[in-house]
């Protein structure tokens, strides 16, 4: 991870985008882990637009959009990068989504074409909807698949179009891969009920 002065960048964002509420999270050991900036989910479009167009610290490329399910909330992480021979830059921009039933984030496809497939993947895996996305479909799973696989409370469906997903006698359910994290499911159900 290339070095970016996250404190300075967060200051820049706060100064230019009102209500962005950029907060920096710096790990205990900066050599081992990466720091990131979290902004308000409603301001993501204007923040990314600012990052792309500002003169002081521009970012000309979006590398990837990743999601993390922390059960109480879900995170969407944007890996921003600047391809420049003199001053290469890179940092992680995050938004938090607390709603598990109808999570939604504004799409940034208009700013970075890379976001098209990446946002579709986040939707496919986490069920986070992206408003104003031009082609909002699943990308890796089939269109009629149920559930969102990378959520921590995901349980695979039993049947898919008449086919058995985990056929009896063919799977070793004692294998730790099939131990669904029951504690996570319970937690998620509680937060859904609230």
């Amino acid at each position: 991870m290339l070095n970016v002065d996250v404190n300075k960048l967060a200051e820049l964002i706060n100064k230019n985008i009102s209500g962005a509420n950029a907060t920096v999270s710096i790990p205990e050991d900066t050599k081992k882990c990466d720091s990131s900036i979290t902004v308000e989910v409603s301001k993501i479009y204007s923040v990314v637009e600012f990052l792309k167009t500002n003169k002081e610290m521009p970012f000309n490329s979006l590398q990837v959009i990743s999601g993390v399910d922390w059960v109480e909330w879900m995170e969407v992480c944007y890996m921003m990068a600047h391809f420049d021979l003199q001053n290469p830059r890179e940092f992680i921009l995050k938004v938090k989504v607390t709603d598990r039933v109808n999570p939604s984030v504004d799409s940034i496809v208009k700013l970075y074409a890379a976001a098209n497939f990446q946002e579709r993947e986040v939707y496919d895996m986490f069920g986070i909807r992206f408003n104003n996305h031009p082609d909002h479909r699943r990308i890796l799973c089939p269109d009629d698949w149920q559930g969102f696989p990378l959520r921590k409370d995901y349980v695979a469906q039993k049947d898919y179009n008449g086919m058995s997903v985990y056929p009896d006698g063919k799977m070793n359910f004692e294998d730790r891969e099939f131990i669904v994290r029951q504690d996570m499911i319970k937690k998620a159900q509680e937060s859904k009920a609230q």
Binding site: M1, L2, P27, E28, D29, K31, K32, C33, D34, S36, N60, S61, L62, Q63, V64, S66, G67, V68, D69, C77, M79, A81, F83, L85, P88, E90, I92, Y112, A113, A114, N116, F117, E121, M125, I139, L140, C141, P142, P149, L150, Y154, R176, E177, I179
Partner: protein, 391 residues
């Protein structure tokens, strides 16, 4: 450099005015999932107007195994064989990226010999992968024999990898803390001999294919990505370099010991065609092979006896936090986003940024207005591996 053949301006496909009035609707054509030009199981839905592509929609997911979900239920060492299966033509580079991410969070020191051997295997793998790209690309365009030439050389690398790791394709060789096995002097001598023959072979390939008139006419000025397209879509690797950006992580943000090495970053220089077209993307790979040979020779000089495995705790537990690690792989920059919840034997989240996934999303950008045959050349030139696209 002077062009060897002046091929001039490309003929723009024009729609005949008389027949244009006859057409009533676009024809939908499915390329794949079992089309030889798609390098695996990719389906591209093409809307065609006679021979001309009006619109292309890639449909992914035929090889989707959801390894990111599997990884959440495995311990840190157990993930390595799964990472292998992403880009099965460059498994060493895939392993190394993942392992580097874990090592960064763990704070492990890798012995110098281990690190040098990693560089050597990664560069050998890059040559093997580019040979495969060279062979299959010629195959896409209708030339069969380059594929056999490429496999002859690739076989030598696979033999060496088989001897040190026990496997020909999916190695599980680079481990957390170092590499599994040391190379013997006899094997290193064979690497050195391979470098000499490969250099000669590369010249032969350029004579045979790169400068071949038919090949040039099929690829030069076809499927042009401008630099702005590359930034917009987040393209990396040979696609970005083919478009004229001299960007290589090994040079611009050196990881491991790459800062000690002397090598060039080849870019598309429009010896033929124009910057950013299929031919330049292809030719960047051929030039990279030469640079990899240069790096391997330096590794062989620097190698000294020593340990290849560092000290790693028996049970690996990472501190709470996250890391985004990217490495220069043959097809572009592979990114590993590793999140740990702290005090757990398993990754909390492992996200793989796949360069091929990004490059596949660029296909709809160049498709409109191309002939179908040119579109095949464009798909081949970005050199996708579906295992990495679908994960």
């Amino acid at each position: 450099m002077q062009s060897r053949w002046d091929i001039g301006e490309p003929e723009k496909p024009t729609i005949n005015k008389d027949t244009e009035q006859l057409k009533s609707e676009l024809l939908t054509l499915n390329m794949g999932p079992q089309h030889p030009a798609t390098h695996g199981v990719l389906r591209i839905e093409i809307w065609t107007d006679s021979e001309i592509v009006a619109h292309a929609i890639p449909h992914l997911g035929y090889l989707h195994r959801c390894m990111e979900k599997h990884a959440e239920n495995l311990d840190y060492r157990g993930v390595i064989p799964f990472v292998d299966r992403l880009d099965y033509l460059a498994a060493m580079n895939m392993e190394w990226t993942y392992v580097a991410a874990v090592e960064k969070m763990l704070g492990t020191e890798v012995p110098r010999r281990g690190e040098l051997i990693r560089i050597m295997t990664a560069e050998l793998q890059r040559i093997a992968s580019h040979l495969m790209a060279f062979g299959t690309y010629a195959l896409d365009l209708g030339a069969f024999s380059p594929f056999l030439y490429a496999f002859e050389e690739r076989e030598k690398i696979l033999r060496l990898f088989e001897e040190v790791s026990g496997a020909r394709l999916l190695y599980n060789y680079i481990w957390i803390g170092g590499v599994w096995n040391d190379w013997t002097d006899e094997q290193l001598a064979r690497v050195s001999a391979f470098c000499d023959t490969m250099e000669e072979e590369a010249k032969k390939y350029n004579e045979l294919v790169s400068m071949n008139k038919i090949f040039v006419q099929r690829t030069a000025n076809v499927g042009v990505f401008t630099l702005q397209d590359c930034f917009d879509y987040g393209a990396t690797g040979p696609v970005l370099r083919g478009s004229g950006m001299k960007w290589d992580l090994r040079k611009n943000a050196p990881y491991s010991l790459y800062s000690e090495f002397d090598f060039d970053v080849p870019v598309g220089e429009a010896e033929l065609g124009q910057v950013g077209d299929c031919w330049n993307r292809y030719y960047v790979r051929m030039k990279e092979v030469i640079q990899s040979i240069k790096i391997i020779r330096q590794v062989l000089e620097k190698l000294e006896p020593g340990s290849v495995m560092g000290k790693v705790p028996k049970v690996i537990k990472l501190p709470k936090g996250e890391v985004y690690m990217r490495h220069e792989c043959p097809r572009g920059e592979l990114g590993i986003h590793l999140v740990s919840e702290g005090d757990s034997k398993q990754p909390y989240r492992l996200k793989v940024k796949s360069p091929c996934f990004t490059h596949t999303s660029m296909l709809p950008r160049i498709a409109p207005g191309q002939m179908i045959a040119d579109f095949v050349a464009s798909v081949g030139s970005i050199d996708i591996v579906l295992g990495e696209v679908d994960r």
